[in-house]
């Protein structure tokens, strides 16, 4: 019983924090490594989450107060559903990127910012497709069979999410260690110079952006599984802001920094929840506004970092190969 309680408490911190790690690794590939400003992180995360939810729960007819939602008549298994969620988020990224990446850098930011809002409004208003504000629920978790034998569901999900994060970490580290990763950095530093040195910068940006969006879709799928039910308002620009805060505080261009950033950021939020009761005994008013206090603290931290330590907690690693 005590163990179950501890796992539950730990999981409530570790799972969302680790999902945030995965999301931020996707953004770090785009922003930290390639210099692409994706202002629509929430859209790709949300599309991944919804795709996963609709595929794994299957078709739901409208009934009573529930508007129903689309889905396959036979629900997908979790792994194929996750892969499809990644593919859809990645494809959406490419679709937005193709017309905008040829233009000046700011256009990508504008287009993705608009996309995030469009996606949220579609999720909200296409009620018979997405369930609208009534939420898609009963989204399954991995290894439900084991959980029935007495394991806590959160504990299992924690391990699965951690394993996925490790895999994504290894893949992104390996990919960016290739000459390909070096070319991404060149695009980030000076795109015209990179072109003048023989780089097809459009293609580099497109692949980096697409892969980044697919990783965000994966984070969304895990999130859907964790929370079990989705409403469109979970995917506001606040989420995009969070991902940027994590990358900038942690250290853009360094996955270790991004991981640290995600856990520190989540710790602030988690501590806020944990301390709500204690704060309430001192001041009822303050306890109700604790989330705002958290926002203010994060905002101040962000400003301080940008002013005094723009490279983040763990800066990008310098590339030093062995001498001949």
């Amino acid at each position: 019983m005590v163990l179950d309680y501890l796992v539950l408490q730990l999981a409530n911190y570790v799972i969302p924090a680790t999902i945030l790690v995965i999301l931020a690794l996707g953004l770090d590939l785009q922003w930290g490594k390639t210099g692409l400003f994706n202002a629509g992180v929430a859209a790709f995360f949300g599309v991944g989450a919804y795709t996963f939810a609709m595929l794994t729960t299957g078709f739901f007819p409208a009934s009573g107060t529930y508007p129903g939602h689309w889905g396959p008549s036979v629900p997908f298994d979790l792994v194929p559903a996750t892969l499809v969620a990644m593919a859809v988020a990645g494809a959406l990224g490419v679709l937005v990127a193709v017309p905008t990446l040829r233009l000046r850098a700011d256009y990508l930011a504008i287009a993705t910012l608009a996309l995030a809002e469009i996606v949220r409004l579609i999720l909200k208003n296409e009620r018979r497709v997405t369930g609208g504000d009534t939420a898609i629920s009963l989204i399954p978790r991995p290894f439900d069979a084991f959980v029935a034998r007495g394991w806590t569901s959160d504990g299992v999900l924690m391990l699965v999410v951690a394993a996925v994060a490790v895999v994504i970490l290894v893949i992104t580290e390996r990919l960016t260690a290739l000459p390909w990763g070096r070319s991404l950095k060149a695009v980030r530093e000076d795109e015209e110079a990179a072109q003048a040195l023989g780089k097809d910068t459009f293609r580099l940006k497109l692949t980096s952006f697409g892969i980044g969006c697919a990783i965000m879709g994966l984070a969304g799928a895990l999130y859907a599984s964790f929370v079990g039910s989705l409403v469109p308002d979970s995917f506001t620009s606040r989420l995009t802001f969070t991902a940027f805060v994590v990358v900038i505080l942690g250290g853009s261009g360094n996955p270790r920094g991004v991981i640290l950033g995600a856990y520190v950021f989540s710790l602030l939020g988690w501590a806020t929840q944990q301390e709500r009761g204690n704060v309430a005994s001192i001041s009822e008013v303050l306890s109700l506004r604790l989330d705002y206090v958290n926002n203010i603290v994060v905002g101040i931290l962000l400003v301080l970092f940008i002013l005094y330590r723009p490279e983040g907690m763990i800066p990008e690693k310098r590339y030093v190969p062995k001498k001949k």
């Binding site: 000459p179 390909w180 040195l197």
Partner: protein, 253 residues
């Protein structure tokens, strides 16, 4: 005369109401150091940018080794063998000097993700080879001691050298140098000019823009003078020195 390596025909480029390049034609012979001179605003840098594919010309055509290259994207022109340096160095600031060179290495395995499938076993060896070549080029320009320094920390002159080294790394046939020694101290300028002369001896063609007449007259085998967007006159240094229209263009233009 042998066949020209670079041929520019009737190039026109306008910016707003200004005709920066106005029906300019010129050619560059292989294995020469050819100088492009002219007063400010004559269209020299614009012409270089057109040849390198960074600007699209409004009219005219550019031939390199007998094939049309105008309209190709810049990276394809680099792959054909034309590499341009920037007048103001465009070092990749948050990358090391070595990385700045490695970026320019052509046809490296792993530069595209497709290579993970197509030639996965060449990546590690290729990377070692790239490091090795980059170190050699750093040796040529004398930047070996700054190999692992961030490019942003280099001095102005060192950035000029880095710019040249990076262009060499790309393995060009024709090197377009936009003011390679401007703002560089005399000792370093001497060094850069020696490197250029050695490259020519090794078979490269160098086409350079320079304002220092002393450098141009002593280092270039052939000089082309541009004025108001077109070629005014061309010839060997001695002829150019005596040409009245050149003096007019510089002093009166």
């Amino acid at each position: 005369m042998t066949e020209a390596i670079l041929q520019v025909r009737d190039i026109v480029k306008t910016f707003g109401g200004i005709r920066a390049v106005d029906r300019c034609s010129l050619s560059v012979q292989p294995e020469t150091v050819t100088g492009l001179i002219g007063p400010n605003g004559a269209g020299k840098s614009t012409l270089f940018n057109i040849v390198a594919g960074l600007y699209a010309a409004d009219e005219g055509e550019v031939d390199f080794l007998g094939q049309r290259i105008d309209g190709l994207p810049p990276y394809r022109i680099v792959h054909r063998g034309i590499v341009k340096t920037f007048q103001i160095p465009r070092e990749l600031r948050n990358m090391t000097v070595l990385e700045n060179l490695m970026i320019a290495a052509p046809g490296v395995a792993g530069d595209s993700l497709v290579d993970l499938v197509r030639r996965p076993f060449e990546i590690v060896a290729g990377e070692r080879e790239t490091v090795h070549r980059a170190e050699e080029v750093l040796g040529i320009v004398g930047l070996s001691h700054l190999r692992d320094e961030y490019a942003r920390n280099l001095s102005g002159g060192q950035k000029k050298l880095l710019e040249l080294a990076r262009a060499l790394m790309a393995g060009p046939r024709l090197l377009l140098l936009d003011e390679p020694v401007a703002g560089v101290n005399p000792t370093l300028a001497q060094k850069i000019l020696e490197v250029i002369e050695n490259l020519r001896r090794d078979g490269l063609t160098i086409f350079l823009i320079e304002h220092d007449m002393d450098v141009v007259m002593r280092r270039c085998g052939w000089i082309i003078v541009m004025h108001q967007g077109r070629t005014l006159v061309e010839g060997v240094p001695d002829d150019i020195r005596r040409d009245a229209s050149v003096i007019e263009a510089y002093l009166g233009g």
